[in-house]
Amino acid sequence: MQLEKFNYDNKIVRNFGIATIVWGIVGMTVGLLVAVQLIWPFMNLDNQYTTFGRVRPLHTNAVIFAFVGNAIFMGVYYALQRLLKARMFSDVLSYIHFWGWQLIIVAAAITLPLGITTSHEYAELEWPIDIAITLIWVVFGINMFGTIIKRRERHMYVAIWFWIATFVTVAVLHIVNSFELPISAWKSYYLYAGVQDALVQWWYGHNAVAFFLTTPFLGLMYYYLPKMANRPIYSYKLSILHFWSLIFIYIWAGPHHLLYTALPGWAQSLGVVFSIMLIAPSWGGMINGLLTLRGAWDKVRTEPILKFMVVSLTCYGMATFEGPMLSLKQVNAIAHFTDWIVAHVHVGALGFNGFMVFAVLYWLIPRIYKTEIYSKKWVSAHFWIGTLGILFYAIPMYWAAVVQGLMWKEFTPEGVLKYPNFLETTLQIIPMHMMRAIGGALYLAGVILMTVNLAKTMLRSKLVANEPAEAPALEPITKNEPTLHRRLERKPILFLVLALIAILIGGMVEMMPTFMISSNVPTISSVKPYSPLELQGRDLYIREGCVNCHSQMIRPFRSETVRYGEFSKAGEFVYDHPFLWGSKRTGPDLHRVGKKYPNKWHYDHLLDPTITSPGSIMPAYPWLIEQELDISTTPTKINAMRTLGVPYPAGYEDKANDDLLKQANEIAEDLKANQVEVLPTSEIVAITAYLQRLGTDIKVKAEDTQEVAKKD
């Protein structure tokens, strides 16, 4: 047996590590900013580029794709080489991967504050960036599979299974959820509309959590935890069982984000039951990790890195139990649209993802620098500050959610809402939001402490850029494998294909009928396409990120129909490219706001929300009054919509701007009659037109039928 000598590439690991830390601080600082904006609207800084609706997606994208994303690549590039006993396939690809990913993040950080967004949560980036993500993801895939092909280890370890599943599923999710029709360099419309768009988006959104925030981290856990604790993995059988069941079941659970909406009932029920079935496969990862620590719990007492891992796995266990519970319709009825969901994702992100990233960083940086950590005491301090931060974050948010959720639903014996003014419920939970901001600040303080600690560690030594290693070349297969799965573990391409099949089944079963069978989205004849002005206004609504705080989905509950009006029907959204149902009600639902207030009300409210709603925490949008609408885009938008199936008559694109100006003049005239002078082509007129249209199509129908009845 001949020993081959080679080097591990540590430089790429270090680079991704530094990117993790830098983007982590950026993303969390932005998170702190948005948390404070929910308490003091003036923290929107009177500036469209830093207003909540645009900055909140910046926070989520920065922490998920920049902080966590770079951390995944750091952890994978370190572990993959060692598990396969091979250097990364290509240094050039590693380099392209690293810089390509950083450029994507910079592009996101520039475009999102500019209001360039698709409005799909966690997929806000516009089509050119989507293409860049696809290319870089393929580079990552080639680099990973290239390394697997030239490996010196016959079988693939469980961590690698998780990364293969991550690679293939994220690719599928990203591509399917990026089917957009570009209309200009930085604007596109989704191919799907309404209910279908919602189903695709939450299939994506839920599985982005599964395959970007969960499976890569379980892979990291399977490598780093046994390394840190110096213990064997508890159960190989459990690894196999929970891996396959996890990836198969996860993909089905997306519709639990759309319970009690206009999504067909059967799809909702599939979302419920697969969420419940997900408990055991998720916990499989946690118990395999915690039982790996069996016999090493004395080390946990003294080793802060292991403390991070234990809390991380515990948070994972809590979040993956909480998720299925929130998927039960009865629980969801109260918790959906409240801060409960925000708390839930932060237990996962701060606890599970964040703490595991910190543990890996503390473990890995000293190793690639061949030194000791600068201060173990600081690591311990970071652990306690971070844990405190999570508690300060989560507990007030759960509290706020219960308080607000119940206030929304409370009636007086006379049958009227106890808190008819939505704002009252918002103001009630501001103290809880303050506590949350303190929790977030604590957590960020811990990260800064870590940064100093790791910087000092790096500075006291020098990076071992190429770490020498040796391993025997791969021998020809001589023995029969004891099990089929053991055979599969040495066939990476077959493994990839099987994982792909496992994750395609759920998505197909849910999407195909919703797209193909018309009875799943009953049409309503009175629902008409948006007028050109309303269409332009809708794009402004998307640009300003209104959907971050306002839902457009009235669920069939008495508490919602009394507050907002008739519940939302699937057929009302057939021209909504994209859907704008929203997932959080920081402010009230807007689906039936059309014609509820006069134009002047909307003008005052957007100029300064406290004029019409004293005490409101909504930011002011004065630039909508100053900025003029770009009506040169109207024909392109009409054409694009027609391509997507919206029935504008042929040649309408040439007349669209005439109609647009006519409608704009009407609104401007009405405002003038109410002592407001405004240009008909100002943006506020367009967004007002859109808001006044919302949910009115089926109101018209009711009047029509009444008239018909009278004639009879």
Partner: protein, 303 residues
């Protein structure tokens, strides 16, 4: 003694009235009883402790033996507990781990050939069973209500409850039976509700703003109490007037209607120009002269 106990028992039984009734004797008796019992308890503890000390001095070997037994018992229960835990978790004793290590390792990471824990498999199969039952209930046998059916049921129940409640209440007014009421209490209550709900659009003095002026003699949708009540209750959605029936109770709507009527002719500063048709106030009201005083009083109250 029996007598006291019975008294105490009775007293305890009716604890709510115990402190309020005038029977001071029973209170003293009860307190005395508590005191005596406490002293007896303390005495028993002291005597017990004394016996222990005596035993330690006279027979030290017995005490020593007792102590040993105790430690042994504790250890036994500890191992038993551990065995129970291991069984529950499907864990083999850690000493046997060597035999379970599988014949492969990755970068030094070994794996054990442990079975999946029994409770874990139970949980997994249980959730699958839940799924099958759930889908059957809702989509195969049609026992579970769809969300539309749930909604219809919820609305029906709520409406029934509301009717029952209103029937039992005096404030069961509607646009057909509401009467003008100039009492200061009504006007003040109406003024308060007006300030929180209506002033944003109609001005704090009813002078108008986004909505029309409410202080002149011109009305878009009728100017008597019944018409105003109706306008508030159902709104005029096409013109931006919100229906208030889900936010204000019928009594509140009546109060606000009466408050609005009381504003007539107040000519507040910055009043919006008149809109709608001229509706002259009812002149046959016998209380006309008192009006202005009532309004002032009401406004003061509201403020």
């Amino acid at each position: 003694m029996n007598r006291i106990l019975i008294d105490a028992a009775i007293a305890a039984d009716s604890s709510s009235s115990f402190w309020s009734d005038g029977n001071i004797n029973s209170k003293i008796l009860l307190l005395a009883l508590i005191l005596v019992m406490s002293i007896v308890l303390i005495a028993v503890l002291v005597v017990l402790r004394a016996f222990r000390v005596v035993l330690q001095v006279t027979l030290p070997e017995v005490v020593e033996e007792e102590k040993k037994q105790k430690v042994l018992k504790k250890e036994l229960s500890k191992t038993k507990r551990k065995a129970f835990w291991n069984k529950l978790m499907g864990l083999r004793p850690i000493e046997e781990e060597k035999d379970q290590i599988m014949d492969h390792a990755y970068d030094g990471i070994e794996e054990l050939d442990n079975p999946t824990p029994a409770w874990f498999m139970g949980l997994f199969y249980g959730t699958i069973l839940f799924g099958v039952v759930y889908l059957s209930v809702y989509h195969v046998f049609g026992i579970g209500a769809s969300q539309d059916q749930e909604y219809a049921h919820e609305m029906a129940v709520a409406e029934k409850e509301r009717q029952l409640f209103l029937a039992s209440q005096a404030n069961n007014v509607d646009e057909n039976n509401v009467e003008q009421d100039k009492s200061p209490e009504t006007i003040a209550a109406g003024a308060a509700a007006f300030q929180t709900n209506c002033a944003v659009c109609h001005g704090d003095k009813g002078q108008g703003g986004i909505g029309p002026n409410l202080t002149d003699d011109y009305w878009l949708h009728g100017g008597d109490v019944k018409a105003i009540f109706k306008t508030i209750k159902y709104g005029v959605p096409d013109k931006g007037m919100v229906p208030w029936q889900s936010q204000l109770s019928p009594l509140q709507i009546a109060q606000v209607s009466n408050f609005i009527l009381s504003l007539r002719g107040t000519k507040p500063p910055g009043a919006k120009e008149p809109q709608g048709e001229l509706v002259m106030p009812e002149t046959n009201s016998p209380e006309e002269p008192a009006d202005e005083a009532t309004i002032k009083e009401a406004e003061e109250k509201a403020i």
